[in-house]
């Protein structure tokens, strides 16, 4: 653990006072790579988030990773170590659009439906079973639905692990909210 902590300290972000000086964008080949980079950099304590790439390079289903430019060297080193090769790393004058980070919930009695942007996940509140996935338009949504529906939300693999698209990115947000609500429901029942 000490070795890991020391690596994290070395590769982790700089002090807070430097954080407001400017933002940069990591442009990767695929949404899945951006999701992977975001997750990995967050695990090292970097303040990163998924955002829309600049309009001139958008293809229609894109995600870039926004980071603090002051951290560029550490970020680039970590990307390289993880085998991720960005198409470009650019600085931003203004903040980009960012994916929705809010969800809506609808209570059907026994079932709870969580909506994030265009994605919906419906869960049996008592059993924790995912009973339906709805919405989306990218090809990984039907693929992910097959592995999620019928299984327990506390046991399935996070859809972000196997998804590629922005629809999968939003499905992960709905899943996280559904998971936390099911867990809090279950813990209330136990106490």
């Amino acid at each position: 653990m000490k070795i890991l902590d020391s690596i994290r300290k070395k590769l982790g972000p700089r002090k807070k006072e430097a954080l407001e000086k400017g933002k940069g964008l990591i442009i990767l080949n695929e949404v899945s790579e951006a999701m992977q980079a975001e997750k990995m950099l967050k695990s090292f304590g970097y303040g990163v988030r998924g955002v829309a790439p600049p309009p001139e390079i958008r293809k229609g289903c894109d995600l870039a990773v926004e980071f603090n430019l002051i951290d560029q060297l550490g970020v680039e080193r970590l990307l390289k170590r993880s085998g991720l090769s960005p198409l470009d790393i650019v600085s931003l004058d203004t903040l980009s659009q960012k994916p929705l980070d809010i969800t809506k919930e609808k209570d059907f009695g026994r079932y709870l439906m969580v909506t994030a942007a265009n994605m919906k996940i419906t869960v049996d509140k008592e059993k924790g079973t995912i009973v339906n996935i709805s919405g989306g338009g990218c090809p990984d949504v039907p693929y992910l639905a097959v592995s999620l529906v019928g299984n327990n939300i506390t046991e399935v693999e996070n859809p972000g692990e196997n998804g590629y698209s922005l629809c999968a990115y939003m499905l992960e947000k709905a899943y996280q909210k559904g998971l936390s609500m099911v867990k809090s429901q279950q813990s209330r029942e136990y106490t």
Binding site: E30, S32, A52, P55, R58, K59, G60, C61, D62, Q97, K98, P99, L100, I102, K104, K106, F108, R110, Y111, M113, T115, A117, N118, K120, T122, D124, T129, V131, N132, I133, S134, G135, G136, G137, C138, P139, D140, V141, P142, Y143, L144, A145, V146, V149, G163, Y164, S165, L166, C167, A168, Y169, M170
Partner: protein, 283 residues
């Protein structure tokens, strides 16, 4: 046209059939569940009930990396001018601006006799490309209406918070904004607790009966609607009339399945023939 969630499946084209709960094209068969398979199965069921030729299905396996979506875009762009198409329903596919642009540039003189419907990824791509007005009908839900209403968004994930927060009852605000920004085709069939049929920004019909709230949670109910709509237009119904009828038939199929939020879409599409009988479109 649309992808199926199978990694190893290459491009497949041909007449689709739906028998014994399985959708078949060429040597491939699948049980419909959320996505293009439900859309095409619903079109097959509707065509069969109305004594129409089954739909021609162009598909390829894609689990999200977008590789075979590109093949689909390329195939359709290369063949659209020669295939005998009266209705083209474009569905789950990785949104790709150059890909959809190529398709929409390709029909040439045949475009006049062709109805283009876009839902799911194809709708996202057409809007992101600024080409929504090249399509005849979009079939968005309330969340997707927020996307169409937001001129900056290139995917529903990037919709402004304020638009996403609007309640389903405020969908008329989104419709108005979307038409003002030019991000809609001439006709919208907006699905939700109330279905809206909109022509050039004006709501020409609302459908809210039968009201089955559980359908909102069931994956594939929008896909079945697009499939029914495509078949009705192919059967000769006027586009607006087909939208109104399709919305009603989809709701009746839902009612007949007596669903709750855990119901599978396959139970609902099985009821399409009975729903068609109930509205007296077939005996």
């Amino acid at each position: 046209m649309g992808t199926l969630p199978f990694d190893e499946m290459g491009l497949k084209t041909g007449k689709a059939t739906f028998e014994g709960g399985h959708l078949k094209v060429e040597d491939f068969e699948v049980t419909p569940s959320l996505g293009t398979s439900v859309m095409v199965a619903s079109a097959c069921i509707t065509c069969k009930a109305l004594n129409l030729e089954p739909p021609y299905f162009v598909t390829a396996g894609d689990i999200g990396d977008g590789k075979r979506s590109k093949e689909l875009y390329n195939y359709m762009a290369a063949n659209l001018a020669t295939l005998d198409i009266t209705v083209l329903a474009m569905h789950y596919i990785m949104p790709d601006i150059p890909g959809i642009r190529n398709i929409l540039n390709s029909p040439g003189k045949r475009r006049k006799g062709m109805t283009l419907i876009a839902d799911a990824g194809a709708m996202y791509a057409a809007k992101a490309a600024g080409l929504a007005q090249e399509i005849d009908i979009f079939t968005p839900d309330a969340g997707e209406m927020a996307y169409l209403a937001d001129p900056k968004a290139t995917h529903p994930a990037y919709v402004e918070h304020l638009l996403f927060k609007l309640d389903a009852s405020e969908v008329l605000t989104l419709i108005k904004k979307a038409y003002e920004s030019g991000n809609t085709p001439k006709i919208l069939l907006v699905k939700g607790p109330v279905d809206y049929v909109v022509e050039e920004g004006e709501v020409v019909e609302t459908i809210d009966e039968p009201s089955i709230s559980a359908m909102e949670a069931i994956g594939g109910t929008g896909d079945s609607l697009t499939g029914i709509l495509s078949a009705l237009i192919y059967g000769g119904y006027d586009k607006i009339d087909a939208c109104i009828k399709a919305a009603g038939i989809n709701r009746i199929a839902g009612k007949l399945a007596q669903p709750d939020p855990s119901t599978s879409i396959s139970h609902i599409i099985d009821k399409i023939p009975d729903a068609l009988k109930e509205v007296r479109l077939c005996a």
